[in-house]
Symmetry: C2
Subunit: 248 residues, 2 copies
Amino acid sequence: MQKVAHLPTMVARSPHSPGQNHLLSYLNAAEFKPLIAKLELVNLLLGDVLYEPGKQLQHAYFPTTSIVSLHYIMESGASAETAGVGNEGVVGVSLFLGGGTTSGSAMVRTGGHAYRLERHLLNDEFHRSGLVQRLLLRYTQALATQMSQTAACNRHHTVEQQLCRWLLSTLDRSSSSELVMTQELVASMLGVRREGITEAAGNLKRAGFISYRRGHISVLDRTGLQSQSCECYNVVKMEIDRLLTNVT
Amino acid sequence: MQKVAHLPTMVARSPHSPGQNHLLSYLNAAEFKPLIAKLELVNLLLGDVLYEPGKQLQHAYFPTTSIVSLHYIMESGASAETAGVGNEGVVGVSLFLGGGTTSGSAMVRTGGHAYRLERHLLNDEFHRSGLVQRLLLRYTQALATQMSQTAACNRHHTVEQQLCRWLLSTLDRSSSSELVMTQELVASMLGVRREGITEAAGNLKRAGFISYRRGHISVLDRTGLQSQSCECYNVVKMEIDRLLTNVT
DNA sequence: CACACTATGTGGGATAACACACAGATAATA
DNA sequence: TATTATCTGTGTGTTATCCCACATAGTGTG
């Protein structure tokens, strides 16, 4: 998913580079150097909460190796992920949309790095109405696509199909085929019971698509997973590609 | 929901006025007269399709008395509404977000009127970076809130709770307490079977909250419906109010 | 008025997911 | 190494929703 062909000069050689984030990788022109210089590299730990309902977000986060879950926590305490954000996107669209806060939360679901930008700097850049604005708006549409696809998927597809979709989209945001996460975490992201994930994962293991041990899931057969996944994975992936490839 | 207190001059006295749409009601300053003049009043019929996956949208629609459903149609043919748009919003955010098309569809679910604006005119105005842009971006966030709340709601709440939520939000967009719609239509919007709606509606009727006859549903006790509804109705309503009240 | 069409009501059986309870296995720590 | 935490596996029973079939009741039309 991370196409950096349009960006020969910024591809990461050093362990950390803003170019590892797909949106930031577009900003290689000289005019963006001052902006890039203001990015702050942060290390996000599993479970870190980037925002909560009603709390003013202070920074936008551009993940590189981390993955963040946007989710809603119900009054009952149950929760459900409505979208995920990895190196293809940015956490904090409400900053430039104007709301400042949202009714949902953002939590780190895979530890790793991200570059963050202070909210006023992001807003100033957004209102220059240039490439950054176009990128952020297109990404906003990609995010809306994810949310509405999740709504339809939650309605019509089985836990096993959804687990496949979720593993595939997580894999796209990871550098390794071994994902570090417990079944408990996956369950809370999908908003189902842990036992349901145990059962679905058992099926996928028996089919030879994945293997796992306590806290780790390895994808052995990506194609196999796709065959068991619902269409939602592809719909979202293709829409992200369409919206965020060759933005000028 | 349609607070027009900030707009004393444009409140509808004539049967049709752009001021009946909450977003358009903000545009009462002299500078917007040329824009308002370019709005075209259209009559939308139940079932009209405003856009489909992959098809370039030609106009943005600002409903006044009509209600439009944004939904996704699965490969299986099943569908699910991901958000509704009435006099509080606009259909076609993908025009200014940059995608042009979406993976979902938009269909009229309550016949009525809307004002439409040719896509280039909308885009030009958006890029003036003034009030219209701020309104559209805030509405975009409200729409995203609806989508993600629908995702969580589909995961955790019962058909009856969701029916209450849906009736309440439809009522907010209607001038009458009698909604013109079949149980079949409601079922396809919520993405459940018609029998499920028959059963849930029967319960609400027995409780005295609604009455209905072939093709018509009347809300008798709004408070009763709220008591049976999930929290999702209020979350979305309050967020729309917060985001779209007193925008300057 | 008769008819066709569509909407609504209801029942029986299947199934996916839930809730709870607990056993076994693995990792972290003392 | 022993102990404790936590994670994973499994069973039983329950429930919401689905699927299918068909009965009943409105509504519009010729």
